[in-house]
Symmetry: C2
Subunit: 130 residues, 2 copies
């Protein structure tokens, strides 16, 4: 049986997010997942994503490029979206913004066990000043 | 002859930064390097780094982990330092701060040709609120 690459699993995870298919999230995310040092667990991770989509109805995860270095994945995500009101403490209030997220994932048994994510807040601030 | 891995070259690049060995920077950084979409070139890149060390005298680049996925390197950098006054538009004013940078590098012929860097500004803001 051909082993499925982490890159392929990661693309399926991204598809799962964009479909908001929360019933399948546990296929890709471990029960005890840690996000930026906080032990969210699967339910806390799901809560974070649901909140993201509630605050940004047109949210779409779009990888610009993916690095595969098992057991790690690195990804440059691009967002092109319209947060309804506050986002990262900024009053975006329905303005269209474009920003990136540089993110690393540690996989174990084909599931994400830890995430290190940094969102380019400075890029959003610059667009709000325009 | 054994090929030197990108990971090894990257570690030498980090050592070069920490030594502020600007005469050697061109060994690791291409003449026409692009940083976050801006064509800095080697001299502009050097200027950025010199300014960083001027603003943060105890600056030290410390990789937490490195992903090697040729021709890309991904790195989670940790900083534990004391910006003298302003940093990323924040009035740090000699406070000690701890923050990360998630960064990707594209190499060509063993030199960095493009960098995508995101610094965790939110982490610094949180520490300044404490």
């Amino acid at each position: 049986m051909k082993e499925i690459s982490l890159r392929n699993i990661y693309q399926q995870y991204i598809d799962c997010l964009n479909l908001q298919d929360w019933a399948s999230l546990g296929t890709f995310v471990d029960d005890s997942v840690v996000h930026n040092g906080q032990r969210f667990g699967l339910s806390g991770y799901k809560t974070m994503l649901e909140r993201d989509f509630a605050e940004i109805p047109d949210l779409k995860f779009a990888p610009e490029f993916v690095l595969e270095s098992p057991p790690f994945i690195g990804c440059r995500l691009m967002f092109n979206c319209t947060p309804k009101s506050q986002f990262l403490g900024l009053s975006v209030n329905g303005r269209h913004v474009r920003f990136s997220e540089n993110v690393f994932y540690h996989f174990r048994d084909a599931r994400i066990v830890e995430v290190w994510s940094v969102i380019d807040k400075q890029a959003i601030e610059a667009q709000l000043r325009d």
